[in-house]
């Protein structure tokens, strides 16, 4: 009876949310066209937009004659930056400029509408202090996700392997930080149409403090580099969960250096780099659904399949040794994810707020849905289930964060828990791979759903620089998203497999059986996480 009632509540919840979203869509469809036309017709609005993006116009040709120029975005006019444009100085009839409103296209894409600039106007890249401050903070937030992930994973393994997990996460933080500065950033983001970006920015040559307009027009180029560094760090760290409790540390280091270079960097270039072919195709990935989550998730599946089951996982589940650690890690991940998604707008603007709101909304909807799934199918709502759901929600909203509304985020969040639960509870036992901490089930499946959902729910009303999805009259976007997903899955699986084989030739990837029994903490690191007695 209780189950039946819960079931009813769940279904009711989904239906209500769906109803609201579709009602909202109809409204948005009419208002969004009006918004777009308003934005493109009002020259003054675009001029201010430009100013906000950091290019004060010389001459102010597009302003109505006699209008006092409002120096938007410069330090000397804080009033204008806060949207309090001094109306008194505008002549009557001049359009009031909505600073930082949602109609402003994304600074993220860096595609400031150059066409609207009057001829002869000079563009001077100017650093926006607000944008820079926010992205600095966001960068630190994303950094915190890797230790957060360490605790998320560390709590789920046996207590003889917890240091092994923490150590792997921290080591990746160190390795990729160096790799990124030396050549990783260049391979990923240096402009170029090839397999990856080339070495023109190796060692941060030419990556200085003036903004690089194609990536982020209002923050120092080096800050963009640092922000992206944190993404490059956490992506390989995600894979750790799949081969937990059985990988040799030396093999791990070699695998990760190669993986970061030959899998992460090219895929990152294709999706985000100037000249990247998936970017040119029009694939939308706001904060890393394909680059980060699908990429890591599929590599995780590969390692889980080819490394085989953990000893002791054949006839019995290996129980988490410290769930409060896992919940602590989830909390740090959720917190850091605001930097991950809202920071990906690369500016302190309305788009960042949209990403912030949908991130929180999707995580909440997904966490709640997993709670209900557990309640219905496993008798009781579980803490681990709720935490897993929240992470799945965060994964799914990642590619969509800058393109969808909060109501779409509820649907995306609810469905991701259902898909991920099916992958974890049905698919995994059926095929028998030992994806120890469900990296594939949560990150790859959640990432695929998020990337496809972006093709369904994306709306120009949210972000004019993005695109419309299937539900907003553009089925082509869904197709493009599917291509991006397919390419990432295929390339990452294959390339990871080759790297795995190569590493296995040099160093045996898996630890010896007796070391696995003794635990990685003692055998790989000569340390014990916990004492039984002093």
């Amino acid at each position: 009876m209780k189950k039946f009632l819960t079931c009813l509540i769940l279904i009711g919840f989904v239906m209500a949310a769906a109803g609201v979203v579709y009602a909202q869509q109809a409204k948005e469809a009419t208002s969004s066209s009006a918004q777009v036309s308003q934005a493109s017709s009002a020259g003054g609005a675009l001029a201010a937009r430009e100013g906000k993006a950091g290019y004060p116009l010389a001459g102010g040709a597009s302003l109505p004659e006699g209008a006092t120029r409002v120096p938007v975005g410069s330090d000397s006019a804080p009033a204008a930056r806060e949207g309090k444009a001094p109306t008194a100085s505008l002549p009557e009839g001049a359009t009031r400029v909505p600073v930082g409103s949602d109609s402003a296209p994304a600074a993220r894409e860096g595609k400031a509408p150059t066409a609207s600039l009057p001829e002869g106007a000079t563009r001077v890249p100017v650093i926006d202090t607000g944008d820079t401050a926010w992205v600095l903070v966001a960068t630190a937030l994303v950094l915190l996700m890797t230790p957060g992930l360490a605790f998320f994973y560390g709590g789920m393994v046996g207590r003889k392997n917890v240091l092994g997990i923490l150590m792997q996460c921290f080591t990746i933080l160190c390795i990729v930080s160096i790799q990124w500065v030396l050549f990783g950033y260049s391979l990923s983001f240096a402009p170029g149409k090839g397999f990856w970006g080339g070495l023109s920015w190796a060692g941060l040559t030419g990556v200085g403090f003036t903004p690089y307009q194609d990536y982020a027009a209002t923050i120092p180029h080096q800050l963009f580099m640092a922000f992206q560094m944190m993404f490059a760090v956490i992506t390989p760290a995600l894979i750790i969960g799949a081969f937990a409790e059985r990988m040799k540390f030396s093999a791990f280091i070699i695998f990760m250096v190669l993986w970061a270079t030959f899998v992460y960097d090219p895929v990152c270039h294709w999706v985000w780099g100037v000249g990247g072919w998936l970017k040119d195709l029009g694939a939308l990935d706001f904060a890393g659904g394909t680059v980060v989550h699908i990429n890591a998730g599929i590599a995780a599946l590969m390692t889980a399949i080819f490394m085989g089951k953990r000893k002791g996982a054949t006839n019995k589940a290996i129980l988490p040794h410290n769930l409060p650690f896992t919940i602590l890690g989830t909390a740090l991940l959720w917190f850091g994810w605001f930097g991950f998604n809202a920071g990906s707008s690369l500016g302190a603007n309305g788009l960042a707020v949209n990403a912030f709101v949908v991130t929180n909304t999707a995580a909440a909807a997904a966490g709640l849905t997993w709670t209900l799934i557990d309640w219905i199918f496993n008798d009781k709502p579980t803490m681990l289930g709720t935490a897993t759901g929240a992470v799945a929600g965060l994964v799914a909203i990642t590619p969509a964060a800058g393109f969808v509304s909060a109501l779409s985020a509820i649907i995306i969040g609810m469905l991701v828990s259902i898909f991920c639960y099916m992958a974890v509870a049905l698919l995994k036992p059926k095929f028998g791979y030992d994806d120890a901490l469900d990296v594939f089930g949560v990150h790859c499946v959640g990432g695929i759903w998020g990337a496809l959902a972006t093709g369904l729910f994306a709306s120009r009303a949210v972000n004019p620089a993005g695109g419309d999805g299937l539900f907003f009259g553009n089925p082509k976007q869904f197709f493009i998203q599917a291509v991006a997903v397919g390419v990432t899955v295929a390339y990452s699986f294959l390339a990871s497999y080759i790297i795995y084989r190569v590493v296995n030739l040099v160093v045996k990837v898996r630890v010896q059986e007796k070391d696995e029994i003794m635990g990685l903490d003692l055998t790989q690191h000569h340390e014990n996480a916990y004492t039984i007695m002093e």
Binding site: G312, H526, E527, N528, I532
Partner: protein, 113 residues
Amino acid sequence: MKLIIAIIKPDRLEAVKQELYKADVNLITVNEVLGHGRQMGITEVYRGVKEMGNLLRKVRLEIAVNEDFAEPTIQAIIKGAQTGETGDGKIFVLDLAECIRIRTEERGGVAIG
């Protein structure tokens, strides 16, 4: 009545439990203990400071059985815990003077099963 105490490797516990169920021995008590026999411990290092030959984690089972169950229990533990390497552990068999079930105050052999 016998009290059987066995010290085994932690990762053999599951196998030993399965063997005991097969032998119809369902009531056991398990402790986590530290021990040091012939098997050497692993040297641990903390900020360069070495900790030599530390005690190893072991699992200690306590099983009280009636006479006719003693040998099957011993065989089950051996079957589950034996790997052939040092550190497989030991089995101690003691005479048990009395056994009382607290709920019913039954005594002796009936209280064990």
